[in-house]
């Protein structure tokens, strides 16, 4: 019953529960890859395709952070089973750690499906030395958005969490420039979009995947600026604070 044993048990619990609900899991994991295939696949510019592949990987990870992780917390936190688990000698953070580890596995799977579909359907040029920076960029943004997922999970009721997460997922993808490159977005978005967490995340991820080869658009630099990293870190702190606040508020409502 060390912290490790407990975390492993909750990781296994989450993995089993999700793997046995394929009707929910498969669409969540496959949808970003499907949209890539339907709307983006087959483009001629390998640089453009690679850029888009990275965008859809972010979108896929965002889906896991919001739906499987965030909405999962919202729908389970007030169930009698979760109340029973609270009576065990279980530090609440270890249950969360088990959830987070399971979400990370599914995020990797969702992103890998995007990569597989991209390579199978579209000309991609990805230098071998780009995978590590790409993984680092995806991980940084993935954690930031996982904090946002926890915040959604604790601030919204089980019923509200799903539509709220869906709306945030779609808006953040569109304005962030994950569907269409930022330079192709309507002019009115210019007042908000550059400050959104998905845009900052993209600003870090796109250069990571394209390296020095890019001349894709004038709005993109080939290296992420320090401002992008700081901005994303700021969002991570903000979302983590909202998550902790939401958690304490929920404790206060149900367990004070």
């Amino acid at each position: 019953m060390t912290a490790l044993t407990i975390t492993r048990a909750h990781f296994k619990d989450q993995m089993l529960q999700h793997l046995r609900a394929p009707g929910y899991l498969v669409p969540t994991l496959a949808m970003p890859a499907m949209f890539f295939f339907l709307f983006q696949g087959g483009g001629e510019s390998t640089v453009g395709n690679t850029f888009t592949m990275a965008s859809y990987m972010m979108w896929a990870i965002l889906a896991v952070a919001f739906f499987q992780f965030g909405v999962g917390i919202a729908s389970e936190r007030s169930t009698p089973w979760e109340s029973f688990l609270r009576t065990l000698p279980l530090p609440p953070l270890l249950r969360l750690a088990g959830r987070l580890l399971a979400a990370m596995v599914f995020a990797v799977v969702a992103a890998a499906i995007v990569v597989a579909v991209s390579y199978l359907t579209t000309p991609i040029s990805m230098a071998a030395d780009r995978w590590v920076p790409l993984a680092a960029a995806l991980l940084a943004g993935g954690f930031t958005m996982a904090f946002a997922g926890i915040a959604i999970g604790y601030w919204f009721s089980p019923k509200a969490a799903q539509p709220v997460a869906t709306m945030a997922w779609l808006l953040l993808a569109y304005l962030g420039g994950l569907w269409a490159a930022p330079s192709n977005l309507p002019a009115w978005t210019e007042n908000i979009a550059p400050y959104l967490p998905t845009r900052l995340w993209g600003n870090i991820t796109w250069p990571a995947v394209l390296g020095d080869t890019t001349t894709l658009t004038t709005s993109l630099t080939t290296t992420a600026s320090l401002t992008d990293w700081l901005g994303l870190a700021g969002y991570a702190v903000l979302f983590a604070a909202l998550a902790v606040w939401g958690y304490q508020r929920d404790e206060g409502t149900n367990y004070a």
């Binding site: 044993t5 407990i6 909750h10 619990d13 529960q17 046995r20 029973f84 609270r86 009576t87 367990y255």
Partner: protein
């Protein structure tokens, strides 16, 4: 040191006073039944003892420690509420998940066997029948070799034979030095198991003692008879009509019978018995909830 202790505990929910200055102490080897109508404060008292809620005033201790610290709950087993099991986990996996939190556990097979669940370990926990879910709930309370268990309605919905087996199991746990805090609506269960009854009503403890002490303190007798019509009876506490039989609850059966005779009531089949725990409970809590 007490196994579980509430020391002058008060708790509000908004303007509702759920507990008022409650003192409750459970000693090692006791089987205490906490009884009360719905909303009386039983659940709040148990939740505070298990660290699920914080008291507004007073202190709660579990094995001498603060129950909101997860490690303080290690020697305690708890039954989950009915129909609470995850749909997608097998019985064996539910047991494994719970056992991962304890340093010393019986083998899962042995545990399931003890609660008559040996054939069900591969079944979906959410798909068990009501009685099977109750038995699994009880098995989970004992999954970590506890020194004390908190049982909530342990045998509701279980058939008679299984119920008596479970009661035997609970009794042998107590005989071996274990401690039980039981909350139940099923008074026969409290009567069969409890070494001490605590009755809680409107957030306060209103009676406390062994089953016979509680029934004696209420001092209620049951007078049963057949009669067509009963007049107003000064000595009757409460009257129930049961298929033509009148059941009269009274503190003074002698005076009641004299009153009946004086009023010229034509009755047959007179029986007088000391009222049971259920009758005492209804009287203490103002009858019929």
């Amino acid at each position: 040191m007490f196994i579980a202790e509430l020391d002058n505990v008060g708790k509000h929910y908004g303007t509702v006073e759920a507990l008022k200055d409650v003192d409750l102490r459970v000693e090692k080897g006791e089987l205490v039944a906490l009884l009360g109508p719905n909303g009386a404060g039983k659940t709040t008292a148990v939740n505070i003892l298990l660290g699920q809620r914080r008291p507004d005033k007073g202190t709660a201790r579990l094995f001498g420690r603060n129950p909101t610290k997860p490690a303080a709950r290690t020697p305690v087993g708890v039954t989950p509420q009915q129909t609470a099991f995850p749909q997608n986990l097998k019985v064996r996996e539910v047991v494994g998940l719970v056992q991962a939190h304890y340093p010393d556990t019986p083998s899962g097979k042995h545990l399931l066997d003890r609660f008559g669940l040996a054939d069900l370990e591969g079944r979906s926990a959410g798909g068990l029948s009501g009685g099977q879910q109750r038995r699994l709930a009880l098995a989970l309370a004992f999954a970590g070799n506890p020194k004390a268990v908190f049982l909530d309605e342990p045998t509701t919905g279980v058939d008679v034979e299984a119920r008596h087996n479970l009661w035997t199991g609970i009794n042998s746990f107590v005989d071996a030095g274990g401690t039980v805090l039981l909350t139940t609506h099923y008074l026969e269960e409290a009567e069969a198991l409890a070494s001490r009854i605590v009755v809680i009503h409107h957030g306060s403890i209103i009676a406390e003692g062994s089953v016979s002490e509680i029934t004696a303190s209420v001092g209620l007798s049951q007078v049963r008879l057949r009669a067509d019509h009963l007049p107003e009876l000064a000595n009757a506490d409460r009257i129930e009509h049961n298929n033509g039989i009148k059941v009269i609850y009274t503190a003074d059966p002698d005076a009641l019978v004299q009153e009946l005779a004086a009023a010229g009531v034509q009755f047959v089949g007179l029986e007088i018995t000391r009222a049971g725990l259920e009758d005492a409970f209804l009287t203490l809590t103002g009858g019929g909830q």
